[in-house]
Amino acid sequence: MSRLFVPDPPGEETGSTEADVVIVGGGPAGLTAAIYTSRETLGTILLEQRQCGGLPLTTDIVENYPGFPEGITGSDLVARMKDQASRFGTEIVEFGEVERTDRENDRIVVAGSGREYQAGAVVVASGSVPKKLDVPGEEEFVGKGVSYCAVCDGPFYKDRDVAVIGCGNSGLQEGMFLLDYVRSVTFVEFLPEMTGAKILQDRLRKREGTTFLLNHALTAIEGEDFVESITVRDRETGEERKVEVSGVFIYAGFQPNTAFLQGVAELSSDGYVRTDEEMRTSAPGIFAAGDVRVKKIRQITTACSDGTIAALSASEYLRDGRSKG
């Protein structure tokens, strides 16, 4: 049986809207920041638009987070982080979307879903969502063969042939999960080499029913009512070929959730938040952590590291009377 998920709803009348620190986002970065600020005895509210957990919620198994030698499911790992943040007093509000951030005197206002929260410092850990590839057929076949969540939709493809687009850690890990159900997985990677962990590559190469098309671009997803095939182009020879599949699972990068920060803190051209090494953004009192930042390595461990630094920087900022930032 899947672990029973218990949400933390907004505390309607009783929930506070004033805090020392408001954390936006309940993935590993935000939850780690919450553990640290709560242990600094700073009043902490964490806002999460759905349920806490972030991207690991859609990850079957996590094998590279230290301390779990046998691996742990993504949802169990983040459930533990959430319990830990709650234990130290973080007030967690789930199912509340953040729509805007403003500054009012020395307070920062975070608003959305009909509520307003005020804090001395804010940690933005709002993460990212799977990126769409914008190839013909992608939009049309969502729910008809195109999926961004193998753990959600994998069982519908029992004994069928599917493709996984993107051979980073996510693509390889979820491809491994899919192999428990499907007949075959064709992995398509745009780059000449896979970027996911070598151990995953080795395991998958040993499995029956796997094909790897490296240096290939997905150019179309086709079918009548449901996905029947994809077309890929060999980037070296330019040759195109069709691969018959019933499902296409897309793990080809992410885009950041930063709409509510537009005009407030400096963002990169593709929307990620710029920070310094102390996780300070261009806006005093606003810190950022995890996948939402401009950075190269996006792992659960590095998200936790960012969360730690952002929390302690926020704590220092509040302690120093907001003179830094």
């Binding site: 029973l4 859609t58 709650s86 969502v142 969540c149 959600c152 939709d153 069982p155 519908f156 493809y157």
Partner: protein, 232 residues
């Protein structure tokens, strides 16, 4: 072994303390030919110990035939959430994983006087001239599913014109096949209006309103309807 940690059990107790009226959960289960019934039973037994306002009745549709018929039960497990009068929201399959949160939200919505829907949705439901039968296909490991599941159930609880079923798609592949489920959440209204993915409440109501106003008998994809509007 307890299914919920002590902390989770405490959160559930606090949430159930909002209940203003007694809630009866009629769980139709059977010992044979139902792999998931033991899990459903364990979940509901655990839940029933967390509030005096909650009564869980375990029923066998073969034995308690009359009640099963009154609840239109045609498969197990079927879990009907009722305040005695209103029994329009139900789960077909085991509410484990993320769907446990949907079950909890449904119990609270049924057992409190105030709707959690916004004014626009309430207006839409108040103006309904036809009945709506909503089916939401979910899987327990889908973090996006409770949004769609709970919205459908809230609509059913708020309006006597709406009935809703949240269906565990893996457990009932025959229904998943019939309703062409290849991804979750998939919401199907009156067997012809559908949407893939979790639409926010405002968009769901707006699109549903348009789809019903068109009055056609054709299949309508709500997402396409919304995108067409944006393109205008």
């Amino acid at each position: 072994m307890a299914l919920l940690s002590e902390r989770d059990a405490q959160v559930v107790r606090e949430q159930l303390s909002q209940l203003q009226k007694k809630i009866e959960i009629r769980a139709y289960l059977q010992k044979i030919n139902c792999d998931s019934c033991p899990d459903a039973e364990a979940i509901l037994k655990e839940l029933s110990g967390l509030s005096d306002m909650l009564e869980v009745r375990l029923l066998n549709p073969q034995i308690e035939g009359e009640e099963a018929e009154a609840d239109s039960v045609d498969r197990v497990p079927t879990i009907v959430v009722s305040d005695g009068e209103n029994s329009r929201a139900r789960f077909i399959g085991t509410p484990s994983g993320y769907e446990f949160s949907s079950l909890l939200a449904t119990i609270i919505e049924t057992g409190t006087e105030k709707t959690s829907l916004n004014e626009k949705s309430a207006d839409f439901l108040g103006g309904l001239e036809d009945d709506l039968d909503i089916k939401v296909f979910v899987t327990p490991n889908c973090p996006y599913c409770p949004g769609s599941a709970v919205l459908a159930h809230r609509m059913a609880i708020a309006s006597p014109r709406v009935t809703s079923e949240v269906i565990e798609a893996n457990e009932f592949m025959d229904l998943s096949g019939k309703y062409e489920v290849r991804g979750v959440p998939r919401t199907v209204v009156n067997d012809r209006i559908f949407v893939e993915g979790a639409l926010p409440e405002d968009q769901m109501i707006e699109a549903l309103d348009k789809a019903l106003a068109e009055g056609s008998e054709e299949q309508v994809n709500l997402m396409e309807l919304l995108q067409a509007d944006q393109g205008e």
